[in-house]
């Protein structure tokens, strides 16, 4: 198998994304005495191009989906799909990130579980934590949040749908005596410093 360079992968995926292509860059990072480089490809594409681009990526090598990361940028929620290709070949793995920005007025994205079933955990988590809708997800239940968690609150959003102030319990602000069920004796008070002594 002849391996494509990161730039070639970026070019191939750009062609597959077609009109939905926004931007692409390749980065490298070296660590250690020998300075062997790890390689990354970052693509930004529109929602409509996600499935065709991923299908083209599968032709290069069946990718391992690591996770779908996120960023709330104000008017948009960005999803970063992290894939690895060329795993199993020492020092040659390439991290391919497909960033898909979604407007907050229309937070829908197609599921990729039809291509990679292992993405289900991450897609379920994105639905409950960010309030996006993964269209055609095979299992749309909540994953980490409990059933009695309020609807319409999305912990990772930074707007009015995020965690409201009254749901946050700051341990430092509770005060020891205010703790519910706390029948502990008060903490021992420090002995008063002797008068007139200087440190």
């Amino acid at each position: 198998m002849s391996l494509l360079t990161p730039q070639q992968i970026a070019d191939v995926l750009q062609a597959a994304a077609g009109a939905g292509f926004v931007s692409a860059r390749c980065t490298e990072w070296a660590e250690g005495v020998k300075g062997r480089k790890s390689k990354q490809v970052w693509l930004k594409i529109a929602r409509e191009s996600l499935i065709p681009t991923l299908k083209r990526l599968v032709e290069i090598q069946y990718p391992h989906v690591s996770v779908i990361a996120f960023a709330d940028t104000g008017a948009q929620v960005e999803l970063m799909y992290h894939f690895h290709v060329y795993w199993g070949i020492p020092h040659e793995e390439i991290l391919v990130t497909l960033a898909v920005p979604l407007d907050k007025t229309d937070l829908r994205v197609p599921t990729i579980t039809g291509i990679i079933p292992g993405a289900l955990t991450s897609e379920r988590e994105k639905q409950e934590m960010l309030g996006i809708e993964v269209v055609d997800i095979p299992d749309g239940r909540r994953l980490f949040l409990p059933e009695d968690f309020p609807q319409g609150v999305y912990p990772w959003r930074k707007d009015e749908t995020g965690i409201p102030a009254d749901m946050v319990k700051n341990l430092w602000a509770t005060g020891r005596d205010n703790l519910q069920f706390n029948d502990n004796p008060p903490p021992p008070a420090a002995p008063a410093a002797p008068q007139g002594e200087t440190k």
């Binding site: 980065t27 990072w29 070296a30 660590e31 250690g32 005495v33 020998k34 300075g35 062997r36 480089k37 790890s38 990354q40 970052w42 069946y62 391992h64 989906v65 690591s66 996770v67 990361a69 996120f70 960023a71 709330d72 940028t73 970063m80 992290h82 690895h84 060329y86 795993w87 199993g88 070949i89 020492p90 020092h91 040659e92 793995e93 991290l95 990130t97 990679i116 079933p117 292992g118 993405a119 289900l120 955990t121 991450s122 909540r142 994953l143 980490f144 949040l145 409990p146 059933e147 009695d148 968690f149 912990p155 990772w156 930074k158 965690i163």
Partner: protein, 416 residues
């Protein structure tokens, strides 16, 4: 002749948890069972979610590093190393090479301790408690070594953005070598106990199988993937820290047995082989360790000021004992806190593999199958609420009793 229609109950649905059947951590399994056989498996995580990402996006990077270290109580270095590697890439901080070697050494010692802890838990789930005592007694040696090198048994606090906080000096090398010799001897003993024992083979061979194709599609990581023949290891695939300087290979069970079956037994083999591999890696790292400083930017205030001025996104990865851990970090100029932080723990990727592993197996096999992926619940759950659930039917103790009884039955059948 008139046939009488007999309505037979077609099976039962049962729930296990949130008290965990294998570990002392909460996750809930919902199972459709027929007799003793599991027809359909499902799981509900989330009982140990502490909102770590939410907290992290409200703290500066050095504070997040300490918070990240506390995501998991077993992988003390895993999350902090992943987070700082992402930040270093964004800020283009070149870590001194000696620091890379120290990071890798602590990472490998952590792998030894985690795999031995797992070996003990797995033996306990099978009702093989003498092996559990043996594994945990051996593990104490590496805990002592970690305490000797870093000052702490867990949460080593040795990582800093741009390097490490403590040196490993040549005076300490003989103590490390002493432990490595101890583990070589212990490896032979543990391999004999786990791999040659008939009862362990009968309980674990062809139990909880994850085929190569399933593993490719469900994307598990670490020993869970490698035991199914998926050659995936961040240390080999993706050169980072000092691992890029070494010649290391993927540890798959066929190295020992010549075949890959993807069952619980193969997962035991994979982890034992990795303990041996880690001993070799620590020795290589000590032999090759370069001289030099430990930190790129020694003063935290200077570091924080630099981080406030940079912007960008990066991914930091590390091969934890359970598999790949990945942190995605995005920094914005003029802000102390990361504007996005996503933590992907290794068990997060391994959860889905439980379903094909459990379906078709017996209830008494649940503890060892659940334990076989070495789940780390608090790594994966990161937001906190305990659900009051009265639907619990099978308790952990009861399941453990079932598992022990099955082992005893197998042993009795051997005597006949």
């Amino acid at each position: 002749m008139k046939t009488i229609e007999v309505k037979k109950p077609s099976g039962y649905a049962t729930q296990i948890g949130p008290a965990h059947p294998a570990l002392k951590e909460p996750v809930m399994f919902s199972l459709d069972i027929e007799g003793e056989c599991i027809k359909k498996a499902d799981f509900v995580p989330g009982m140990a979610h502490r909102g770590v990402e939410w907290m992290g996006m409200r703290r500066n990077c050095i504070q997040v590093m300490y918070l990240a270290e506390r995501i998991c109580g077993i992988c003390g270095i895993t999350h902090s190393i992943s987070f700082v590697r992402a930040v270093e890439q964004i800020a283009q901080i070149q870590v001194p090479n000696r620091a890379h070697y120290i990071r890798s050494i602590v990472g490998e010692l952590e792998r030894i301790h985690s795999h031995l802890l797992w070996a003990g838990v797995a033996a306990h789930e099978l009702g093989f408690d003498s092996a559990f005592y043996l594994a945990w007694r051996v593990r104490e040696n590496v805990m002592d070594l970690l305490e000797y090198l870093t000052g702490n048994r867990v949460h080593y606090a040795i990582i800093q953005i741009g390097g490490v906080r403590r040196d490993i000096v040549p005076d300490q090398f003989p103590r490390i070598e002493e432990s490595m010799k101890f583990f070589e001897d212990a490896y032979d003993k543990l391999a004999a106990v786990f791999l040659d024992d008939t009862t362990v083979q009968m309980r674990c061979r062809d139990c909880g199988v994850l085929t190569n194709d399933e593993a490719r599609e469900l994307c598990p990581v670490g020993p869970t993937a490698r035991a199914s023949g998926i050659k995936k290891d961040v240390r080999v695939d993706h050169p980072y820290a000092a691992y890029g300087d070494l010649e290391i290979d993927y540890m798959t069970p066929d190295l020992l047995t010549g075949e890959v079956r993807g069952d619980v037994y193969d997962r035991i083999i994979t982890r034992l082989l990795e303990v041996k591999q880690s001993i070799g890696i620590v020795r290589q790292l000590l032999a090759q360790m370069p001289d030099g400083p430990l930190l790129a930017i020694p003063k935290p205030a200077v570091l924080l000021a630099k981080l406030k001025g940079v912007a960008g996104e990066a991914v930091g990865r590390h091969e934890a004992p359970r598999g790949e851990v990945m942190h995605y970090v995005r920094l914005e100029a003029g802000k102390d806190e990361p504007s996005a932080w996503k933590v992907k723990a290794s068990s997060y990727s391994n959860y889905l593999s439980w379903i094909p592993m459990m379906e078709g197996e017996q209830i008494a096999d649940i503890p060892i199958i659940a334990a076989s992926i070495d789940p780390c619940i608090s790594c994966t759950d990161r937001v906190a609420l305990v659900r009051k659930d009265s639907r619990q039917i099978l308790t952990k103790e009861e399941l453990h009793r079932l598992s022990v009884e099955k082992t005893r039955r197998i042993q009795a059948s051997l005597l006949k």
